[in-house]
Amino acid sequence: MAITTTLLLLFIFLGLPLLAILYRITLLIDPSRNKPIRHGRRNIQEPTHLLIVLGSGGHTAEMLSMLSRAVTAPTDPLEPKKSAKLDWKDFTHRTWVVGQGDSISASRAKEFEDMAIPLSTQEDLMVGKVKRATDTGAGSYDLVEVPRAREIHQSLVSAPGSALKCMQACYELLMRYTTETREGHAGVAKQRDFPDVILCNGPATAAVMVFTSVVMRFFDVRGCSTRGKMRTVYVESWARVKKPSLSGRLLKHVVDRFLVQWPQLERGAGGRAEFRGVFV
């Protein structure tokens, strides 16, 4: 008798909350969850925010290589919407995340910004139509340093500590711009908000950033989950042909999009891996 009561109580006070938490997590990491509400690509009422995580060395090089390729891609003037050209002014605010003291990544991000904004063709396309209403200008960007999630050759004992420090820095920078949720789940007009998309490739910092954003969505901090913010895009390194990297293995069931650059890795990685061509 006593045992059944104990079991029942255990189920009610431990089992049910646990089930509820698990259910909430499955909702959170379901890629078909809400996307941010948008009325048009360039709507001054609805600023956009892209967050890019740069690692160091190879990861930074690959990220900038694919972004450069996207913003310099040719446009077809007849069908501009079907081209692969990324218009950098589509993002009114960009946050670049670099590891602490990584001045090379920081300066490469700056170089990219200086290069990409003049390449915008949106104004040309809009001339004579609704130019003034859609011209959001060059927008703005931040370069933010976070402590490294893992130093090279760091011992396993001190690793959790630095991961936590990195996590706290990620939380602070994700909270840097927030606004309130309005009816219909849109943010307050014209106000900068959470990143719409977190774009990353392999560094450890990226894994920490993604997990931090999931935790924030779990608690729906400032309505970030309600508004469908912080969708996550992970691009596996081009150097990974058959097996994903450590970050890839950690993130393949968590990120909204998991892109691989070799068709054989689509099956090799499992999870949400999809091959949509080479990006670098």
Binding site: R38, R41, E62, A70, S83, W238, A239, R240, K243
Partner: protein, 203 residues
């Protein structure tokens, strides 16, 4: 007729060897300075051998370079440097040639993805030699996959002169990078397509 300058003895032709910035790759430095590779270079009309040997590679380079210079003689000049803060672009372009009577040479590289990508973009033939000493073998996989698609020559340390011959064959049918996406609709818009979908841009 006029296009066949690469085999002309009067033009320069550079072989640029790079081991990367971080790792050490002693075996590659030794092999490219050894007699078989030097004579292979000479027989294929190379005039310059430039070796980037990395921060820790100086003693190995210096112990072998004198011998290589003697073997190279007048026809082949050998030089080297540890690292170039300005990047390897300048040296890659030297290997690509094309200006002032310079013929197209070759890049011999460790299997670092950045270097391979730079060479593919410049469309200079590249011999990729994976470093077997590194624990993670994903570099070998990359080299194999790219060699299977005939983008690079997968070089083996034991047979670099053979790889140099393969590079001449590769030069004849050098493929363009980035690869054409063969009209597959889902691949056509690349990163832009993904970001549009995730941003919720519906136009």
């Amino acid at each position: 007729m006029a296009a066949s300058t690469t085999t002309n003895n009067n033009t320069s032709k550079t072989c640029f060897v790079t081991i990367g910035a971080t790792a050490t790759f002693t075996a590659l430095i030794q092999r490219v300075l050894a007699a078989p590779f030097i004579s292979a270079l000479k027989s294929q009309g190379y005039t310059q051998l430039v070796v980037q040997y990395g921060a820790a590679g100086k003693p190995i380079y210096e112990s072998a370079v004198q011998q290589a210079k003697t073997a190279g003689g007048k026809a082949l000049s050998v030089s080297g440097f540890d690292l170039d803060k300005a990047g390897l672009g300048k040296h890659m372009r030297q290997a690509k040639g094309g200006r002032a009577g310079a013929g197209e040479g070759v890049v011999v590289s460790h299997a670092g993805s950045g270097t391979i990508l730079d060479a593919l973009r410049l469309s200079v033939p590249i011999i990729v030699v994976p470093n077997a000493e590194l624990l993670d073998n994903h570099q070998v996989e990359l080299a194999e996959a790219l060699a299977a698609q005939e983008y690079v020559v997968h070089g083996r340390l034991e047979d670099l002169p053979g790889a140099l011959k393969d590079a001449e064959a590769l030069r004849q049918r050098q493929r363009e990078w980035p690869p054409a996406n063969a009209g597959t609709q889902r691949e056509a818009r690349g990163l832009k397509g993904i970001l549009d979908e995730e941003m919720g841009f519906l136009d």
